[in-house]
Assembly symmetry: C2
Homo-oligomer: 345 residues x 2
């Protein structure tokens, strides 16, 4: 059973390979080192033998470690994660940089394991998406000289790292003004997690639009959520249980908007006839939700692209134009919004 | 402007660092090499100076390159990609392995650039998702000794690599039998791209279920699609334009099912009252589509996990139990299916 011997790596010497291939030792060495001065037929024969004997092929450039960046999420359970990955990968791939994707689940143990892995692979930069690192890990990145860029700043604005965000406040205002412009006066709001700055900004945009329209803010129309569909379902149900439910609802994420639409459907209410619904994100699938969702578009892939460009500039020691960038949001009007109907108006 | 000098790496010698820190050269050396026999205060002072002078910190383990696997998609434009990434990342992360995500867009140039990057980062294994590599790239992986595992086999079944798939045929049959069991006799089918084996298997499962129920197959009820929502919309519209439209529809992907639901909504038809709709995938968001979608669940994250375990076994030279594994699909019944209504039955 010669196969067993072939499995063991490095047991066969270069000299034996040379003898078996009928070439000189320096020729084998030239093949191993990826040099071009070897006849193609000879190279193929030697490579086959190296492979056969379990030599792990090391391409010529392998000793110079290739560039890697780490893209870190709290959780990989949202369809918007893939939009950010798509943008990051596109720019990184084109530049020969590998994108290592990780999730740390907001758990200290996972974050520490990630840091250990990051050190071991000597990653060149980190993009952190809507997640918070403990100060000790920030310090460690700084000590390692690994630059950090934060996408969609979630935690303390005092965080000492460049950020790429979107105009959450302006987006929240645009969504609410759209509903006001359609004639709605009682507009519900399903909020995002309060620990995230973007949640605060969207809520403040909602308040600002109502203020500007001279509509008093009714705190009973503001319900908590966590960006996931379940909380949109629950939040919308709570609003429907009010003595005077709203005629329109602005959910601070598309997923919560989808949960809200389902809560309405369960009660036999139609969108937009009985209630208008606006989301936030513009995930690809909400173009195809029933009905297609009016929403505030976040340029997620563009945010990813900009984050890579920023982190690569930092690895090269180049200055940044600005340490904090906010990309514009756009209101996308589809079929889930209309003037208030005969519902509870 | 001392800052300028600090930016330039390696200009300051270990001797100078030692002098500035007020310690001996061997002490600086011990810090640089990550040894433990340095007092914490001294270590911190030396590390700060190293950082200040732009020394790139190399952790002790950095010379031994960390494990990496490459996870390759054709496109990162589908919400099911994130499910696979989630599964792969979870197992890889726990094992200290980094997951490098790439998209090659079915384009030769992108695939070659990816291969160049893969060689440069000396990745340990490759997981290829519903994508096809040119034979020359397969040969190169083999020559590099980098094991390959294919998720959801898309191309030639003769491909010389272990595969992780799902029971697409059984899933197609279960979806169709569910509709037959509800009393449907005219069941439309929106197919996936014919180049993918999984599309063929789902279609064959549909045919087998109809055969078994003694329902003659009407080829006019089978329309082409490409897994994306638009094609579900178009396919469903084509079925509705038939003289005798079906009373139920099985779409070979959830995204096509969502497009079909929207086509029905646009014509004022309701799901499931006017037409039942079944999808395939069980993406997280279809729990929240209006109505929640009956679908065939693919365990996407489980497929990712199994693929990592398989590729890691191969990197260690361990034998596989089986080179081809198919995980079971499950029919998940929600609210988009019901007995045929008064519609066109």
């Amino acid at each position: 059973m010669g196969g067993g011997a072939r499995q063991r790596r490095g047991r066969v010497t270069i000299t034996e390979i040379a003898r078996e291939a009928g070439v000189s030792v320096p020729t084998v060495s030239r093949v191993v080192n990826g040099r071009s001065d070897v006849a193609p037929g000879t190279r193929a024969r030697v490579e086959d033998l190296l492979h056969l004997h379990g030599y792990r092929w090391r391409p010529p450039g392998a000793r110079v470690r290739a560039a890697l960046i780490d893209l870190v999420f709290d959780d990989l359970d949202s369809p918007w994660a893939v939009e950010i990955i798509r943008g990051v990968e596109e720019v990184a791939h084109a530049g020969g940089v590998g994108t290592v994707v990780s999730a740390i689940h907001g758990r200290s143990g996972d974050a520490r394991r990630w840091m250990t892995n990051l050190r071991a692979r000597a990653s060149d930069g980190v993009i952190l998406v809507t997640s918070v690192l403990e100060p000790v890990l920030h310090d460690e990145l700084r000590r390692l000289g690994v630059p950090l860029v934060v996408v969609d700043p979630a935690g303390s604005p005092a965080l000492d790292a460049p950020t790429v965000g979107v105009t959450n406040w302006a987006g929240g205002m645009a969504a609410t003004e759209h509903l006001v412009g359609l004639g709605h006066r009682r507009i519900g709001f399903v909020a995002g997690p309060p620990r995230l700055l973007c949640s605060r900004a969207r809520l403040d945009g909602y308040r600002a639009a109502l203020d500007r329209a001279g509509i008093p803010i009714d705190e009973s129309l503001i319900v908590p959520g966590d960006f996931y569909p379940e909380s949109g379902f629950t939040g919308c149900a709570a609003l429907l249980d009010l003595d005077r439910p709203p005629t329109a609802l602005f959910a601070a994420s598309d997923q919560m908007a989808m949960g809200a639409v389902e809560a309405l459907r369960r009660r036999g209410l139609r969108v937009p006839e009985d209630m208008s619904v606006v989301g936030f994100d513009d995930l690809p699938e909400v173009r195809w939700s029933a009905p297609p969702l009016t929403t505030v578009r976040q340029p997620l892939a563009e945010m990813g692209k900009l984050a890579v460009r920023t982190v690569l500039r930092l690895t090269r020691g180049e200055p940044l134009d600005s340490p904090r960038v906010e990309l514009a949001t756009d209101l996308i009007v589809r079929s889930s919004t209309a003037p208030p109907g005969r519902g509870f108006a």
